[in-house]
Amino acid sequence: MTPANQGPPLLSVERLITEFRSAEGTVRAVDEVSYQIWPGETLAVVGESGSGKSVTAMSVLGLIPRPPGRIAGGRILFEGRDLLTVPPAEMRAIRGKAISMIFQDPMTSLNPVLTVGFQIAEAMLAHGDMGRAEAAERAVELLRTVGVPNAAERYQQFPHQFSGGMRQRALIAMAIANRPRLVIADEPTTALDVTIQAQVFEALRLAQAETQAAMVLITHDMGLVAELADRVVVMYGGRVVETTDVRTLFHAPRHPYTRGLLASLPRMHERSERLTPIPGAPPSLVNRPSGCAFHPRCAHSAGRLPCRTEVPAMREVEPAHWSACHYAEELQDSRERVEA
């Protein structure tokens, strides 16, 4: 199922720690997070607000505002090089060429006074060695690839003449313009309507087919994960709690948080009488619970001491299935999720 766990990973985040200074003191938004992504695969990073999923990605891109932010530890290896030691000028070159990104709000990512086509062509001119005419031609082609109708005409238009879904597609076109090896998409469809979301999924799929780029998909939407991801990293309270391939994650999750999350979702075609929520609320970073950050909400912990005192380490509970739960073994067979 996983495409290529053999061979070196394209990106390897290792024990990354990112902190922010705030009025409350230093908060650790990302706490020893590790994950890998191999060439060509789609890795979903799932979590709720405050889980650290976006901050991790911003750290990879070198876009943590400093101050108040600070990378306090770990390594980010991209094709074998540690991005944390790359000089800023070179980092800018990597960002936008080898690694590109798609943000949640397409309006803030496009310059309102330049035509969309110009901005896509510009991205290529800044990083490639093609001529202006060639860049323009390829920009139209890219717009067509991601499903923008009348691409040649749209090339000439300004961002405000694009609808939200159209803008997001233009951003996808821009993100793949330089044939990046890694695309980081942060909640790319959250701000969009359902029918427009479907269009953007298609655009993402087409873009990935076109470039064979690996994609880190940051989202809270389990439906999107099921539709697009190969492997999944689940984050909670600034740490990774579970990682495995997408089918195993949905059918045999081995962390109580993942199980709780899946059980709590209302489903269109399963009308159980009552939803099974996770009690409580996600932890605030200032006031993270001791031990396992999930223990106050955990249905499985039953107040056992290690949950409250020891931070559980990630363990390979089955081949290629990692979980940070002291009692992951107990979750082996019992499938909490009610099948229809």
């Binding site: 159209m166 099921a226 539709e227 709590s264 979702l265 209302p266 489903r267 939803l275």
Partner: protein
């Protein structure tokens, strides 16, 4: 509960119209709501779904009187809603309340929870001692500890804040709650808590809900009947089963098929209708059927006549489509 025994629905909306910017503006009016009719029985949950800009929130705001409708009639609990008369509205708000989407924006940041919850009670003339008891009761009802009444909104999480908003709406024992995207601003793991709370409250208090949402999974879970809106009109209305299992309108079909299903085994095995283009602007809706510009079934008649919302021979729900029918034809 008493209204349920009567034949009359609790809420009846007849040809509601809301246009913005008509007054002497040079720009064309925004036709936010373009003649919708609905009925809601006591104790029932009616879902109003559609994408942003379809007019679902405007409909809710017109019903409760936060907006003045341009046309149409709304009858609540046997009495026509008089949008111009403040006293009549204030009286109506004892029986009809609103829950806002954003639990951060809907609570006054400078007031304690007690002050927020006691406001409707005191304004309705309740004595201080009685108010104290009622606030505690309300907080317990929505799953909050009454001791936390002296805290400020920012000391609560998003889900708890939404509970406070619900408690405020329940203060005067209303018959109808208009819920405007009540869970869409909440974290995934919290949404289920609030949905369960809403269902419990409905069971205990016999409330009717008008549930405005764009998330079809949530709607399918909580609603008895569902009305699907597109560009200011209702395109299909029926029971949950009718809408979700046997949708007849092409837009409903597309909407349902666009929802990602959280089962990786179904990936690629499900027919997905990807609509072309974007919804048209409500300032300049297409002639005839508003959906025809994105519809794979559209023919000449769709541009000429607005399809009436009526039951079709093959289905029990009302559908506003010239070519209504089960999903067989492949979208172009």
């Amino acid at each position: 509960m008493t209204a349920g025994t009567r034949a009359e629905p609790l809420l009846k909306i007849d040809n509601l119209v809301k246009h913005y910017g008509v007054r002497g503006g040079r720009k064309p009016a925004i036709q936010a709501v373009n003649g919708i009719s609905l009925a809601l029985r006591a104790g029932e949950t009616l879902g109003l779904v559609g994408e942003s800009g379809c007019g679902k929130s405007t409909t809710g705001r017109c019903i409760i009187g936060l907006e003045q409708p341009t046309g149409g009639q709304i009858v609540f609990d046997g009495k026509p809603v008089e949008h111009g008369r403040r006293a009549a509205l204030t009286a109506m708000w004892r029986d009809m309340q609103y829950v806002f989407q954003d639990p951060f924006a809907s609570l006054n940041p400078l007031m304690t929870v007690f002050a927020i919850l006691s406001e409707p009670l005191r304004l309705s003339g309740m004595k201080a001692a009685e108010t104290q008891a009622r606030v505690a009761e309300l907080m317990r009802l929505v799953g909050l500890a009454p001791e936390h009444g002296n805290r400020f909104p920012h000391e609560f999480s998003g889900g708890q804040r939404q509970r406070i908003g619900i408690a405020r709406a329940l203060a005067l024992n209303p018959k109808l709650l208009i819920l405007d995207e009540p869970v869409s601003a909440l974290d995934v793991s919290i949404q289920a808590q609030v949905i369960n709370l809403l269902e419990d409250l409905q069971d205990q208090l016999g409330l009717a809900y008008l549930f405005i949402a764009h998330d079809l999974s949530v709607v399918s879970h909580i609603c008895d009947r569902i009305a699907v809106m597109y560009l200011g009109r209702i395109v299909e209305v029926g029971t949950r089963e009718e809408i979700f299992d046997r949708p007849q309108h092409p837009y409903t079909q597309a909407l349902l098929s666009a929802v990602p299903i959280d089962d990786p085994d179904l990936r690629g095995r499900r027919k997905r209708i990807v609509l072309q283009g974007d919804p048209p602007s409500p300032a300049n809706p297409p002639s005839g059927c508003a959906f025809r510009t994105r519809c794979w079934k559209a023919t000449d008649i769709c541009a000429q006549a607005v399809p009436a919302l009526e039951p079709k021979p093959q289905a029990r729900q009302a559908v506003a489509c010239h070519h209504a029918g089960a999903l067989t034809a492949e979208p172009a």
